[in-house]
Amino acid sequence: MYILKKICVYLVALLGIVVLWASTSRQAMQFLSEHRDNDMWWGAHQLDHGDLSSISHLDYLNKFHESLKTEVRHTSYTGPKNTVLFLHGDSYTWKLRDTMFDGICDYKFIGWSNPCKYHLDSTKRNVLVIEVTERLLRNYYGNTQIIDQLTDTGIKKKALSEYHVTDPPHTRYSSLLPTIDINLFFNKYINQNLEYNLFNYKFIMPVFGCKAAINCYLFNRASGDAVISEDKQFLFFKETLDPTGPGSSLSPVSDDEVARLVDNFNTIYDYYKASGFREIYLSIIPNTVTIVRPEGYNNLIPRIQNDKRLKMKVIDIYTVCKTTSELLFMRGDTHWNKKGKQKWVDMVNEVLRHPRN
């Protein structure tokens, strides 16, 4: 019995080290997430019913359930096709297909985190649409890094650092030592990874669902990063309500900051215009809270869009969301619903058919 107890202690101690290591290592986490069979009872909890609904485990209570199918109808346009559409977007637009847009012969989607690499065919009409969600707008376009990333300077710098930098010569002894990156031992997402490895199993979900029920029914709160709206109709992303954070619809935005954002958009515009794009459009997707609970809104989108110095033409989905009687956002997800997406695609098709000069 004593030996068995001793073996158990060693096993638990070793297991603890393994779990800490696995939750720190990016490779191990990737391996684990790729090799877990999510259809089985030990699979990981999926965001099948809305990201906010799922991360707050309210999906277990069938609260804020919604279909995530937001497939947009294919275009019926039969006219000439001479336009190349470059869409620099994010999760709101990344599943769009070329068959949904009018009159385009080529379509390229560039994720927001990637440099905008392109090869222009000057015989075609090249159109660039920069889509950004309000939550990320100030973080991405409020600093000069985005200028580097989206314009030539960044691409050139990246290319130089990728292809022309030579390694410093090694001394005989230093080359024998392994290069240790201290960050290999630390991972800022370790707690999320530990939660994934230790508790994110389908068979444990009733426990989480029970906590979600207590929070929801007794305290009208949601767990995690979701916030239940006062009328209990929507889940909001916590970040969009934080009165101090840059992703919030409620945090104050100074005139200087708006001017800086406009300047950055103008720099990007000048660069792409000089590169040969015929039209460059900006489209800012509002946060759900901006539309459904506008009290205290910082008016970030109208202040940018109405700034007379802004050179980019605007695809103004904000005004459409404000004026329509239809609901364009999902109730348990940070994104818009099928109608919202369709409205946006229709507006893009409108500028593709009738370019604004």
């Binding site: 060693y10 201290i182 630390f186 370790i190 029970c210 305290f219 009208n220």
Partner: protein, 470 residues
């Protein structure tokens, strides 16, 4: 790695299990030292270099202080103090001074702008710096022999349960315990775990729940009603207590599991009868530090000034204690107000004694406790506000008796639950001050019940402990 994180729970389990597997103290010291390095580096790895630098400086200074006498002895103490205070000055206070020099120069019609440091304050810097200073001062005073073993000394500063938010220990208490082989004792493990669970309960169930009210009222001070603002600051007093004493309970419990006893940091401060009493019950390790190393030397050196010595010593000590908490004017004001309150108590002690002698003891106690409680509640506004203007606005909001929003960030049921939990916490700490549970069955029941309660009633908003910022 905060105590209320999964990472800490796994880390604590691994370190404790390996700790009791090792059969010699040298191995245990190295295990704890490596574990403490990992614990500290999981915040910002690079800052281990600052901590390492100050450990080496104080270790060498300790040896040289012991070796020398007279002026050389004093010189090495001064070197150690300058090194420690220098680190604090650069990382914690430099930007504050630059900011105020700039504001001062504008007042005189000139603009003097010095470059600001764009670096994060190393976690727990004020705590481990004070603990390191305590060591060299005690060696200088010949109350403690200089530690020869570097690893043992490094562990004295870096011992992970108290590394980032205290208790600020004395070498006489911790060093002998670190050097001695402490055998495995099931009773210690039970007591330590029970105390840790109580600390988790105070942090995640009470403090983080009250934080919702406090954050809401402080960010809506302009449009909240006076009642809501008063509720906010009242809850803040309980929040900061549950947050910090919860941290201390986890720290003391984690050390107790390894059979190491750290000093107590709190002793039911809500029942203080006057401000002097309050400061003997709140953050005891810090205020005993200030008493031993600032107030006492000051009063001794100023004794020729008579009563003015007490006034000056109290003002300087509380000015420094306020400044210790943060490089901001509102913290300095907070410290000075408390200093002035203690001066008032000193000069009116005879009158107050006479007054209380005329009434029944219980009535006197209730009045004393209530007045002290309300005084601390209101001065906490300076402690919580982001700046002096925000603090003054909050005061104005409370005393303008405005009719703003009564919403305080939670529904009525949760307000009732919060009040109940605070009452439960006060009752438990008043009536059951210990943590040891003799019966194993009761211990297991308590453990399971606390885990379930902490999970289901806990607010897991990834809130750091408030005192980490100091």
């Amino acid at each position: 790695m905060t105590f209320n994180s999964l990472q800490f729970l796994v880390f604590f389990m691994v370190i404790t299990l390996w700790f009791f597997r090792l059969k010699d103290q040298k191995g245990r010291i190295w295990l704890l030292l490596l574990g403490s390095c990992y614990f500290y580096m999981s915040f910002i790895p690079e800052y281990i270099l600052i901590l390492g630098g100050s450990i080496i400086t104080d270790y060498v200074a300790g040896l040289l202080i012991e070796k020398n006498e007279g002026r050389a002895r004093k010189a090495w103490l001064v070197v150690s103090l300058i090194a420690n205070i220098g680190v604090l000055a650069v990382f914690k206070y430099y930007n504050f001074f630059v900011d105020n020099i700039h504001a001062g120069s504008l007042f005189f019609g000139k603009s003097l702008t010095l470059p600001m440091l764009k670096i994060a304050l190393p976690i727990g810097l004020s705590f481990h710096t004070f603990q390191a200073m305590s060591y060299t001062i005690e060696v200088y005073r010949k109350n403690q022999k200089a530690e020869k073993n570097f690893a043992t000394y490094a562990l004295y500063v870096m011992f992970y349960p108290q590394l980032v938010a205290g208790p600020i220990e004395r070498p006489q208490n911790v060093l002998p315990q670190l050097k001695e082989f402490r055998p495995y004792k099931w009773d210690n493990i039970k007591e330590g775990i029970a105390r840790m669970l109580w600390g988790f309960f105070k942090k995640v169930v009470i403090a983080d729940r009250l934080a919702m009210v406090v954050d809401r009222t402080f960010s809506h001070s302009h449009d909240s009603s006076s009642i809501a603002l008063f509720a906010g600051i009242l809850f803040y007093y309980f929040q900061i207590y549950c947050d910090f004493s919860g941290y201390s309970d986890i720290a003391l419990g984690a050390a107790k599991v390894m059979n190491i006893r750290l000093m107590e940091n709190f002793n039911q401060p809500f029942f203080s009868k006057n401000m002097g009493d309050f400061w003997r019950r709140w953050h005891i390790s810090l205020y005993s530090w200030f008493y031993d190393y600032v107030f006492n030397p000051l009063i001794t050196s100023l004794r020729n000034l008579g009563q003015a010595a007490i006034v000056l010593s109290l003002l300087i000590t509380f000015f420094l204690s306020g400044f210790w908490h943060g490089a901001a004017w509102q913290h300095i004001v907070y410290g000075l107000i408390h200093g002035v309150a203690l001066i008032y108590e000193y000069f009116t002690r005879k009158q107050r004694k006479k007054l209380f002698a005329r009434m029944p003891k219980a009535v006197g106690n209730v009045i004393g406790v209530s007045v002290t409680f309300l005084f601390v509640v209101f001065t906490r506004i300076f402690f919580r506000a982001e700046n002096m203007r925000a603090a003054m606005d909050y005061f104005k909001g409370i005393f303008s008796f405005s009719r703003g929003s009564n919403y305080i960030g939670m529904n009525r049921l949760e307000v009732c639950l919060s009040v109940f939990l605070v009452g439960l916490m006060l009752y438990r700490e008043r009536t059951l001050p210990g943590y040891f549970i003799r019966s194993d069955k009761r211990f297991y029941f308590y453990t399971i019940a606390m885990v379930v309660i902490c999970y289901y009633l806990g607010v897991f908003a990834e809130n750091q402990f408030i005192y980490f910022q100091f």
